[in-house]
Point group: C2
Chain length 314, copies 2
């Protein structure tokens, strides 16, 4: 697949950080940044800029906050055309500082929100847009929203300066027909905006759904190294780069950083396809119950887990 407009965002450090409370070493972040720059990736997302009021520093590593100084220190001296993204939760904004874009290493700010918080997301989007950042609005958990509320939110976002609005399959629930449905909905209600695609791999469909998004005109797609991310993880970046035929992409540095860093990391933290995540995906549920059971001695008692949660309703 070749379409010049397609841009790739790697969320290894940000979504992977949800597994280890953002305690990645500087050496690891620097290696990933360097490798992805060599691979021709368009954007790298380094973490959240969270409020220290809501997220006390004792509990988290540096990539929970993504201070400008910290980012500058870690990328120092690496030749790169890759843009840097950070994510901010719209409903947890307090004292975070955003400098004007030309005083920051950050290029893009992604505003993560639920439909119910869309006004907060719009307020933050306007604020950081005025500071010169590229902006995206990532509406999470849309598989649990009714169309009336979702479309009302899209119609509001359509009037903002947000450059991109994301279809996010938070629970790894969708298959290709829902991706088509939401891509068409987003295109209709967000004229002129770029549509992004962020998928989870609960049912081994993150890559397939990302392709489906691309086929339906998504031009900003997320992947991560070896699919790292909370629970079942994300679309594997290596597969995405194998699929996209733009000659600017180079798969070798991607393979190298996976063998050097991601495979050894699996000794310490786990992610990827496992039956408990498949079950929450099939049932269109948040993966938190699956993540919790994987920390217990019952971590491979799948039938019991299924029976326990299949009858739960919101």
């Amino acid at each position: 697949m070749y379409r010049e407009e397609i841009k790739v965002l790697d969320c290894t450090i940000r979504d992977g950080g949800l597994i280890n409370n953002h305690h990645f070493t500087d050496e690891f972040v620097r290696s990933v940044y360097k490798s992805l720059s060599e691979a021709g990736i368009d954007y790298i997302e380094l973490g959240y800029r969270s409020s220290r009021k809501y997220a006390p520093p004792g509990d988290y590593g540096a990539w929970k906050y993504c201070d400008d100084d910290k980012i500058s220190e870690v990328i120092d001296g690496i030749d790169s055309d890759m843009k840097i993204s950070i994510m901010v939760d719209a409903h947890r904004v307090a004292e975070q500082v955003f400098k004007p874009v030309d005083e920051s290493p950050v290029d893009m700010i992604r505003v993560a929100t639920y439909v119910k918080d869309i006004d907060k997301a719009i307020s933050l989007t306007n604020k950081v847009h005025d500071l010169g950042y590229e902006t995206t609005v990532n509406i999470m958990a849309i598989s649990k929203e009714n169309d009336h509320d979702l479309i009302e939110a899209l119609d509001q976002v359509a009037k903002t300066p947000a450059g991109t609005v994301y279809v996010v399959d938070s629970f790894g629930y969708f298959f290709c027909e829902q991706i088509q449905y939401f891509m068409n909905m987003f295109k209709e209600h967000l004229p002129g905006k770029r549509i992004g695609m962020h998928c989870h791999n609960n049912q081994q469909l993150a890559y397939a759904n990302t392709i489906e998004g691309i086929r339906f005109d998504s031009n900003l797609v997320d992947g991560s190294l070896y699919g790292i991310g909370r629970g079942a993880g994300n679309c594997p970046l290596e597969l995405l780069i194998g699929f996209l035929k733009n000659p600017k992409f180079n798969i070798e540095p991607v393979l190298k950083v996976i063998q050097d860093h991601m495979i050894p990391m699996l000794d310490d933290i786990e992610w990827g396809y496992m039956i408990p995540y498949a079950i929450t995906g099939i049932l269109n549920q948040h993966p938190r119950s699956a993540i919790a059971m994987r920390q217990t001695k019952q971590k491979d008692k799948y039938a019991e887990f299924y029976n326990e949660i299949a009858d739960l309703h919101d």
Copy 2:
């Protein structure tokens, strides 16, 4: 997805047997047979009926041969409506014995072939059809065939009594657009025949492609427990059963046999998504080079492996 015509075939024992030379224990085969019967699976494939001339018994376990007596012994006493399938390689037929269907525990014979051997496949299909078996023709490696030759083969198979003809993605190379293309080709050239779907998971697309096959009218789809199968394995049966809404299916026995048998088995043999299989899939190559390198100390040297095989041509 609900369509009454959709039938599911589990190939755990057959395709999984390619990893361990078909040395599964009777206890394991019996447990799988019992669990899948309870789950409402339509067909189970127990292995190959290979020629002992081409496959010397010292090298292989019982499921390489699937003698009628052996099958009858292992399933004895288990209440089941599930049909039993075995596979035969069209190009390796010698002294194998096929009794009339009413003297055998086997219900269906799947003839595996390459385009070049299609006349052998047709001969075998005619023979076992006349003995009363359901038959399928599984044309392998079609991602490496030119349309002229493939269509000629399909037009020949169209005239046989084969009930089902399979789209087989041997190398895990296809994404949804090729599945659509081949489903349409097979439907056009095989009027009145059921189309089957057998996918490999090199690029984490086996389940997605199986769904795509179903969307384009495939009514016999293959899966395996936890995706077991050679290399990256097959479409995970648990996901397929989560997707199909026919109330005859029951996911619990599937989850139970995975936790009791498949997870412990991963301590002894490996299968599933790994970078070397992704690489051969992306490059539309047979996975044998990836399988071989996984047996060496270089098993996680992905960049080197990619460089080694990316320049190889048939």
